[in-house]
């Protein structure tokens, strides 16, 4: 049985429906990440789980108990806000102890639990500082401390790292992963950052416009995106998308003509989810790391715009002959001058999407 069960919930702000029927199940201890473009309803959904927003329709159950309309305090949930929401007039100790003080937990127990949380987060020397005397990363830790000390059933994070600089973000990301392993709690994490999503999640929920586009493990979503939206959203650099048309369909192989391609037609090996008729417009999706420089048997030729040397590897930004943007990751150091025409081939099984943007792969 699932620990958190969200069943067809909706949220209405006045006449605007922001969440349009979302169902999500999470197992105990699972790390779920919500991703999606700005305004798709990630924060709203998270706040509904916390009880900070009323649920307009559907039900939310935690640990078998229906909490759809329960008070936030009764849900045994902790939330880490993007702005940290530390109480500015209290020092770190009192911030972390706040909830226990409200519940009148004995002083000695408060002390030992705060100290334990501080130890896990390595903020013991900071306990009597005020939030304004802390760096961004330290505030983040203090906010997480306030969350873990209560041993909540579920942790909610709303873009907790987005106010930190890139390096600190990477470090805190690892810390959160470590924390999740250490305490094994159920966590729901909202982010824009798909690296965070890919690295932290047991399961990613891709949201768009108040609806779930796809749910699955990071590699499932990466390898088998259900549609163009998910394919374009996950993966950095982005997948290149090339328009094409079916010449001959078949269950095991498609023959396509694509304006960007070198030859008149290319063969894409199956399997496919359904019979594809000739003449159907499709989109070919190519992950940057599946492209390689191939002068012997090129499938398409692109014009190099700019190359980015990342030390060990190189990012090549290019455009196809029909002006589609394309990025290729080369594992070696490449020195190509901008404007060079570069012959490429793609290995394996490229993604193919039909006219509706749905995948043709099983």
């Amino acid at each position: 049985m699932s620990f958190l069960s969200i069943d067809r919930v909706t949220k209405q702000f006045g006449i605007v429906q922001v969440i349009k029927g979302v169902s999500i199940e999470a197992r105990k201890g699972e790390f779920i990440v919500f991703v999606g473009p700005s305004g798709c309803g990630k924060s709203t959904l998270l706040r509904m789980i916390a009880g900070l927003e009323e649920t307009s329709g559907g039900t939310i159950a935690i640990d078998g108990e229906d909490v759809t309309h329960a008070d936030p305090a009764r849900r045994h949930i902790a939330m880490v806000f993007q702005s940290y929401a530390l109480f500015p007039h209290l020092n770190v100790f009192d911030n972390i102890a706040f909830g226990m003080q409200i519940k009148k937990v004995p002083r000695a127990e408060i002390r030992s639990r705060v100290e334990e949380a501080a130890r896990i987060l390595r903020i013991e020397p900071l306990l009597d500082r005020k939030p304004r005397q802390l760096s961004g990363g330290q505030r983040q830790r203090a906010a997480i401390g306030r969350a873990i000390v209560r041993k909540p059933k579920i942790f909610l994070f709303d873009e907790p790292l987005s106010n930190l600089d890139a390096e600190l973000r990477t470090r805190m990301r690892v810390e959160i992963a470590r924390l999740h392993q250490a305490i094994g709690a159920t966590m729901i994490y909202v982010t824009h950052d798909q690296v965070e999503a890919m690295t932290l999640a047991d399961r990613i929920v891709v949201l768009r416009n108040g609806l779930v586009e796809q749910t699955g493990s990071p590699s499932e979503l990466y390898d088998r995106p259900r549609n163009l939206f998910v394919a374009g959203f996950l993966g950095s650099p982005r997948m290149a998308l090339l328009p094409a048309r079916v010449i001959r369909g078949g269950p095991d192989q498609l023959t396509l003509s694509c304006p960007a391609c070198t030859g008149p037609e290319i063969d894409v090996p199956g399997p496919f989810r359904r019979e594809v008729r000739s003449g159907e417009p499709v989109t070919l999706g190519l992950r940057p790391e599946t492209l390689r420089w191939d002068a012997a048997d090129p499938m398409l030729t692109v014009r190099v715009e700019i190359t980015e040397n990342l030390g060990g590897s190189t990012l090549v930004h290019a455009t196809t002959s029909d002006h589609q943007a394309l990025i290729m990751t080369a594992a070696e150091r490449l020195a190509v001058t901008p404007g060079t025409l570069m012959p490429l081939s793609f290995g394996g099984h490229p993604h193919v999407f039909d006219g509706e943007g749905e995948t043709l792969r099983p």
Partner: protein, 290 residues
């Protein structure tokens, strides 16, 4: 020594002029209050002290003094009691008003209930009514309640809340980050606990500013306490001063006694300004209030 630019010099000169202008009355009342009654007219135009005595101060405080005025036969006014009454009156109105106005301001800023905005505008509209119009109905009410000459009657119109204080605090509560309230709510705090332990403490600056403004107002309140609190047991400083002047009728007022009492009445306000002055300036700056 750093050299002042001509502009800065001019600026300081103008500031110095205003400092002198605003301190002059204080100095004059202090000077006269500490002079022997016989010296007052002899050197009225001089700025410096000619004689020094604390007799007048002791006299108006009802303490034994070497100065006895034989011309007056009215019962002496005890300014020690008046000072005490002013303190009680001010502390009651200021603390009461801030506490209740903060509750109301917080509710108007943060809580959702039917008619909230309507109620708030009704409140604002009430602020437009000139205070003087309210004196008579309030007086009749207080009289019918049998609260004349009691502190309860004197603080009744303002102790609960005033539109200004409610409006002032509501603005600050509205600009505070909502996440703090929400975080406290998730931690299990009740609505009152959120108010008391989070929302209120983070408004320390604005509350201090308001407290200072209200204290100065209440300390100087005259007309309402004059209407309902004439009894010496509850009579505040401002009213006592007025009574003191009227005691001497058309004759020559007891200038030294009056000025000694005036000096006495400014001391608490000055002390407050010295203690909280820095905070006043800071909170006025940070709040962007004029």
């Amino acid at each position: 020594m750093t050299k002042l630019s001509p502009q800065a010099f001019l600026g300081y000169a103008i500031l110095a002029l205003f400092v002198v202008l605003s301190l002059l009355p204080l100095w004059m009342s202090l000077k006269i209050g500490l002079s022997y009654p016989t010296d007052v007219f002899g050197d009225a135009e001089r700025l410096g002290m000619t004689s020094l005595t604390f007799g007048n101060v002791l006299r108006v405080m009802g303490l034994p003094s070497d100065i006895q005025l034989t011309a007056f036969r009215a019962a002496p006014i005890d300014f020690t009691v008046a000072l005490r009454n002013s303190l009680i009156y001010t502390v009651l109105t200021v603390t009461g008003q801030i506490f209740f106005s903060a509750l109301a301001g917080y509710a108007f800023a943060r809580m959702r209930f039917p008619g909230r905005d309507l109620l708030f505008f009704a409140f604002l509209a009430a602020a437009m009514i000139p205070g003087i119009v309210l004196f008579i109905p309030n007086f009749i009410l207080v009289k019918d309640l049998g609260l004349l000459n009691t502190f309860a009657g004197m603080v009744a119109p303002t102790i609960l809340m005033t539109p200004f204080a409610v409006f002032f605090l509501r603005q600050f509560f509205m600009t505070a980050p909502k996440e703090l309230d929400e975080a406290a709510r998730l931690e299990g705090a009740s609505a009152f606990q959120i108010f008391w332990r989070v929302a209120l403490p983070i408004q320390k600056g604005p509350i201090a500013t308001l407290a200072i403004l209200l204290t100065i107002n209440s300390w100087n309140d005259f007309f309402w306490p004059f209407l309902v609190g004439r009894d010496p047991d509850v009579r505040v400083m401002a009213v006592a001063l007025a009574d003191f002047i009227s005691q001497t009728g058309r004759g020559t007022p007891d200038w030294t006694g009056l000025m000694a009492a005036v000096t006495l009445s400014t001391i608490p306000v000055l002390v407050m300004l010295v203690v909280f002055g820095r905070q006043i300036v800071e909170s006025l700056q940070t709040s962007g209030m004029k």
